[in-house]
Symmetry: C2
Subunit: 118 residues, 2 copies
């Protein structure tokens, strides 16, 4: 899917190898990703309630972001298949909670110290 021979790709991996901060920022910059995390933190733990909470997100993006968050172990996916009807439930992991705290700090900074032009 992704072209592995482009300069674009080369530069991205170069930066990610230089410092994993770049990898983290790359992840965080996927649209809706932090909002999905925060929404889960606030207790919206199902696909449908998340979708409702984040009004404008589309299904495939929400599915993708949940997958990304799970792959990076920031959230945990519980498939309660023994319940009927079976339902999937998401919760924040410990790592996810720590990240959320750090982001709160960044958020505070951005609201009090940053100036966004125009």
């Amino acid at each position: 899917m992704r072209k592995l021979t482009s300069t674009n790709y080369y530069n991205q991996t170069f930066l990610e190898e230089k410092c994993t901060l770049n990898e983290l920022i790359n992840l965080l910059s996927k649209r809706w990703l932090t909002e999905v995390m925060f929404s889960i933190e606030e207790g919206n733990n199902r696909f449908s309630t998340l979708k409702e909470d984040l009004k404008h997100i589309s299904d495939n993006i929400l599915a993708d972001r949940l997958k990304l968050l799970e792959q990076h172990k920031l959230i945990i996916r519980n498939d309660n298949f023994r319940e009927v009807p079976s339902r999937v439930e998401y919760t924040l992991s410990e790592t996810g909670a720590k990240l959320s705290e750090l982001l709160d700090g960044l958020c505070h900074f951005s609201e009090t110290e940053m100036e966004f032009p125009e």
Copy 2:
């Protein structure tokens, strides 16, 4: 240049208005931007030395990132036009230094707590 009627644009501004963290992350996610900032912090204060330090960056991207950083008052651009030859010099602003500290925190988190798959 940017299309103002797309859902893409609408969603981005929706998120930015919801919380300026999204705006900050958007800025930080521009490739090379944090590296340019760090490089200036380390004393590379000229276009040409930055270009040399960040081997693979191209001119127009470097110019753009410097402009962005300046617009957001994270760096300061000094045009010493009375010197001969006139030269431009960049330094980190106070806000920039604070941001850099916060990013150090994130960096530490990302190196010690994050797991990046594959």
